[in-house]
Symmetry: C2
Subunit: 306 residues, 2 copies
């Protein structure tokens, strides 16, 4: 089971060889990340985009592209489609966003006939390393689904559980995060949390264990949970934080990554292949970690998963 960022990077380097399809690779940070990932033995990459700009950026950063395939496609929409097509043809295993808006690359990934859908919902899964507490967390969904209903939350959860399995955790503990620990009919998040926890108890949601409603403190710290009268072996021991809306997820992710300085990575799960959405807000490390997360999360995808 992967318990920190170093283990994630090591697992990504020691697994079987994968290939990234980079959409609009003309981005200096993305080029540096795929170059570093290749050097670390994590993955090969096909660079789709404006070849002249890719070569110029690589030269400016003193990165040799000798070991990379380049597919010249200066149009960003077409570049995204070609990168997706490489995955559909089995020539690449993960999609990585370069110098292109998220909406454009996601449109190509979500295309009903030529995209990477496989029936399930796409959702974002963040991986966070709280070094002080020597633990890692998955957090979902901080980036894609705005205000998921109960059925959407189940799909979001299934995607995160599958990533946890890929990380070697066969039965992750899920905390259904809310603002409070108790059912409050005026707070729909608590109503959904009770329903999800009950379905998990009944065996209708599988591959994980669950508790909730839980507030962040009692999701993370057993002593805090017991102070609030919460019982059982799971409270305070969350491996996966399921948040009720994108604002809560995004602020929580950013508070942990940028203020608490947690190590961070992110991947879009639920498609035929993982999607790495680099953000200008993310650090260089987060980009590398996200490649590793995508590669390692595929371990469960390829073996069937939930």
């Amino acid at each position: 089971m992967i318990r920190n960022m170093d283990e994630l990077l090591k697992a990504a380097s020691s697994g079987k060889s994968h290939t990234l399809a980079v959409a609009c690779a003309q981005d200096p940070e993305v080029l540096r990340a795929v170059w570093t990932a290749r050097k670390a033995g994590m993955a090969e990459a096909v660079l789709v985009g404006d070849e002249a700009r890719i070569r110029a950026l690589a030269e400016a950063s003193q990165l040799s592209l000798d070991d990379f395939s380049i597919v010249h496609e200066p149009d960003e929409t077409l570049a995204c489609r070609k990168a997706v097509s490489l995955i559909r043809k089995g020539k690449a295993d993960a999609l990585m966003k370069g110098a292109v808006p998220t909406a454009v690359v996601m449109r190509a990934a979500l295309d009903r006939s030529e995209g990477l859908r496989r029936g399930s919902l796409l959702s974002h899964v963040a991986f966070l390393e709280l070094r002080k507490w020597e633990r890692v967390l998955l957090l979902t969904d901080a980036a894609l689904n705005i205000a998921p209903g109960l059925e959407e939350k189940k799909k979001i959860l299934a995607n995160a559980v599958r990533v946890a399995h890929g990380l070697g955790n066969p039965s992750p503990v899920v905390a259904c995060l809310c603002a409070v620990e108790k059912l409050n009919p005026k707070m729909p998040a608590t109503v959904d949390a009770v329903a999800l926890t009950e379905e998990c108890r009944q065996g209708k949601i599988t591959g994980c264990q669950m508790f909730g409603p839980a507030a962040l403190d009692n999701a993370l710290f057993p002593a805090a949970a017991r102070r609030k009268g919460m019982e059982g072996p799971l409270v305070g021991c969350a491996d996966i934080l399921l948040v009720p809306n994108i604002e809560a997820g995004n602020m929580l992710y950013k508070a942990l990554a940028f203020v608490a300085r947690a190590g961070a990575a992110g991947v879009v799960a639920g498609a035929q292949a993982p999607v790495i959405l680099a953000s200008r807000a993310d650090s260089r490390e987060t980009l590398m970690h996200s490649i590793a997360l995508a590669l390692v999360s595929m371990e469960a995808n390829t073996t069937g998963g939930v």
Copy 2:
């Protein structure tokens, strides 16, 4: 202007003398906090509750109650009403929750004829000290209002602005927090953020400056804001974080207070007197800091405010 927790405590000790009305004071941590606050010259206190239990708890903690008034009232609902009544009669200046559920003390505070309403909405204002960045933040509303609409957000904001004025910041910078930096009609939080920012620009919202929609990173860090193409002197310099829903606020508060280890305090604003809601989740320090915040926030309340 108060820039850290020490300055908050100092301001609370050096202002004019105030009195706390403690509802159901039979709580060891609350007794310790009011005892310490008195010793620090912050405030006197009237302890309303079960006198025998109050005296037994004080003795067990070796706290002398010689300088405190005690009003014996073992019934928790009546104790809350009596504490509120002390404020209405001018015998106390702030209400503090002891060993009683929040709902019970808030019911007494919100009573239409005998409570502390003054027409505005009650809302929670958290004070957070990010020591590493040597800055303090107000965060609202992490605890009371579940899913405020635009008009409610204005009242929540006005309460927080009044607290900021009490802290000596005459024109706090407000970030309207969302999950993203741009208007997205599918995300109501961004629609409200645009409306609030525009109303502030037009002078319809006064006493503060504002920017948004903003995500947490670009609310807190100017460099992060500029990486996202945000311009102007306010971006990254938030004094007040206005969150769109209670889940986002609560998780952000707890991530900062319990994971990033920010110094924390909280007060309910918008009533005739500040209300201190001690939580079992809060540390002993947070309880003391919350008393200080309540006392200092009164400076603006008594002089009119926004």
